[in-house]
Symmetry: C2
Subunit: 207 residues, 2 copies
Amino acid sequence: MKRLSTIGIYRLALYNRCLSSLDRCDHEYVSSQELANVTGGIATQVRKDLTCYGKLGEPGKGYEIGKLKRMLINIFGKDKVRNVILVGVGNLGMALIAYKGFELQQFKIVAAFDNDMRKIGRHFDGVSINDIRDLKATIASLNAEIAIVSVSTSSAQEVINELVSAGIKSILNFAPARVSVPKEVELHNVDLSIELDKLYYLLKNSR
Amino acid sequence: MKRLSTIGIYRLALYNRCLSSLDRCDHEYVSSQELANVTGGIATQVRKDLTCYGKLGEPGKGYEIGKLKRMLINIFGKDKVRNVILVGVGNLGMALIAYKGFELQQFKIVAAFDNDMRKIGRHFDGVSINDIRDLKATIASLNAEIAIVSVSTSSAQEVINELVSAGIKSILNFAPARVSVPKEVELHNVDLSIELDKLYYLLKNSR
DNA sequence: TGGTGTGAACCGATTCACAGCA
DNA sequence: TGCTGTGAATCGGTTCACACCA
């Protein structure tokens, strides 16, 4: 069972989400062609993606939706609850706490951190805002493994260092900074201005 | 001059940002090796990326920073101001309007739209919030080409249809929905829950 | 010597073509 | 007949090796 490529994981996640929005019973079937139509790919690729976790399609019928959902939940480890914390309760941090897309996927931000005294001790959308100095202790007590970082560029590396030493294994970083982590820690960057750069490029070099 | 792959554009944008943070004069030089160190790649790749727009490195010295910057600004069409509009002034929309990373890259959101009467006519962070019913007229008068969509999943397709018919060429969509656009329109999706899905996967399948 | 530019080799991912099963 | 699963062919991007230049 090999580790998938980033793009492979992405497509699997996409199938997962499309299944949820398919208004069909769990015991009904969906074909690779249909899944391809919804995700903008081709049927062969969908099949290749799905078969690397064992054969679960039925020739002539397709994939049983319930079975497929269970497989995907298992692949992503969503059967187990994982606590997510967030550092940096600015505009973006608040938006992420309140983000509706997370609820649908059973993600739960269990605590937030900031260094602004006016925010510490308060709640936002049901999530308590803690003193960043309590990061390590709180992470330990919550047994959190995933952190979302939405602090300023200048403090990103420092915050991430603390997260790593507190035992965080995976980090989703929104600060537009190149930060480094030990290789056993997973770091994903979401860089909004680079996304806009891409659009600029495509506009300038449009077909 | 061929169109680059998505990942190629991404790296170019990354080089661009790293140059800004390099505290060195524009007339000094940077080597491909150095650029690779900062961006986490290898020197050969940096050179391959840069040479597809003509030779501008100098053997034995490297790339003149000012020249490289100008080339990148040109590649991304940032020499020309492009007006960006935003639809959906919820938590995420507000965070995007206030996002500091955009300023650094000369991106400017010139108008926002919403359908909430309590928001329409007000300003947020210097950006006026307009009635979504005025979308077409306002886009035309501002000559906007890029739109950021941060509306709910259920209204994403409808809003995007309107944007397309109003002449928008590039869309950055934050709604976790698969939406379709005519093929001449560029659509990029930023899907936050899929980013978390990836972290879940990596955590479950860690090395 | 220290760097760039680039053809060639490599590698992984995508697509094709088709065997096989209900 | 309709759809899956998969080896083979293909494609494109990455890396290597080295020619070349200041």
